[in-house]
Symmetry: C2
């Protein structure tokens, strides 16, 4: 028998409580898309989500309350609510073994590209057709670390609110402007129109990253899929196609490593006094 949706104070939710059942469905993309919500687990992600004002509801166990009472208090005192669950319910909500007793339902944070561009960003990362959620989250984290203020998921990219992507982003999902742009070509055109130089990361690009001039210009980096790289039309649309030079016997870098090298090349140039 389901428990009431609004239990008495002190009630502990189980796997059958309707709010837990509804939250658990957010592990599926369809339910995330329909509700505009997603799950974030563990104290680091919950802390960043609270700071971003993104927490709609925090589920915590007795252990989570004992270890992270400050986060539970902040969740309960804000616009959201905090609900105690039993261990089985938390295990059902979490995708990892060690979420330390905390899982939050968060509001998706994407903004239209135009809003992100009005802030005149100096560094933007664009993921086109990236399918692996771990890679998507890692690029988000690396872009944030390198000082990018917006990350665009363009074309047929993975859902950045996928649990694995959220975990790989290590909180950076809550720091940057996340943009979803189905039409990658239109997004690139908008980036160029906003005055950003668009550089396509391409293992076979004509420009060598080590020799590229003007890296201190505001830049949008395009990164393509693990398997196929960037679509030819997007590469053609960029101001330059840039290869990270391969100095040893490796055929290529993986996506996350190439993105780190490219984004940090821009970060260094942007940071240096001109």
């Amino acid at each position: 028998m389901p428990q009431p949706d609004n239990p008495q104070p002190g009630a502990v939710f189980t796997t059958r409580t309707p709010r837990v059942v509804a939250a658990r469905r957010l592990q599926r993309r369809r339910d995330r898309d329909e509700t505009g919500r997603f799950l974030a687990e563990g104290p680091q992600a919950v802390r960043e989500a609270l700071a971003a004002g993104a927490v709609a509801e925090l589920f915590f166990t007795a252990d989570g309350l004992a270890r992270h009472g400050d986060l539970v208090a902040r969740a309960g005192s804000g616009a959201g609510r905090a609900s105690q669950v039993d261990d089985d319910a938390l295990a059902a909500l979490a995708e990892t073994v060690q979420p330390q007793g905390l899982v939050a339902v968060c509001a998706q944070r994407d903004v239209p590209l135009g809003d992100a561009l009005r802030k005149a960003p100096r560094l933007v990362a664009v993921c086109a057709d990236i399918r692996d959620p771990g890679n998507a989250g890692t690029v988000l984290r690396t872009a944030d670390a390198a000082g990018a203020t917006a990350v665009v998921f363009a074309g047929d990219s993975v859902d950045p609110y996928n649990g694995k992507a959220v975990r790989a982003s290590a909180g950076s999902l809550f720091h940057v402007d996340v943009v979803r742009a189905r039409d990658a070509s239109a997004a690139v055109a908008a980036l160029r129109a906003a005055g950003l130089r668009v550089l396509a990361a391409d293992g076979y690009g004509e420009a060598d990253l080590f020799e590229l001039p003007d890296l201190a210009r505001p830049t949008a980096w395009l990164f393509g899929s693990e398997a196929h790289g960037l679509p030819g039309a997007l590469k053609a649309q960029a101001d330059a196609r840039v290869r990270v030079p391969i100095l040893g016997g490796a055929e290529s870098l993986n996506l996350a490593a190439a993105a780190a090298v490219c984004l940090y090349a821009s970060a260094k140039a942007l940071k240096e006094p001109m």
Copy 2:
């Protein structure tokens, strides 16, 4: 009933053929350590393994022969042998769904640190206590791409011949000198004695990578575990502790991204005319 170990020409091995059974055991570390062999799957890894003279035996399906007959011929004509297996046997040997009909038994390739150092390497990567095989393979691949000629797995690091590590290395395992050094401190001392500057990648390091002088000096980079970073004693032993600057809200970079940025900072400096 087991099939004979040396079947007639044209025989097709099954999951029960002793050589297939023995090869399959190489999915376990204990058997890899005991035999000094490991498995590499798919055409890219097999091609690199053949080029390195590391293939002891290549197992191929009818499909693998049709698609990669050149590799099968090279395996059979060298010191190794090539053995046809049925689809079930290949599926049992492979850890991925798409090895394209090829799995090779390879000889482990590690060399003593002294041998690697006699070649006067200008760039070396040291993984200390790295536990994730995907990270180990990615660092190998990135180090190879950046021009490192040796990668040292020190302390309590994951087995670089683990299947996931082999796949993540994308062939680079066959390009560089792989060194295993149980005593990380002794390895660092040997690297310094060989004239290499030892730099510890450390999110809290006193030196900013962007401002570090003399990156064109021959360098060994130390990378620590995902969870705990480098042990304090190893950090103290290094010539400097270097942080990749974090310009946005991210708390840190992940291991593979930090390694890519550090190794490529050295690669760029080493490549520039002095």
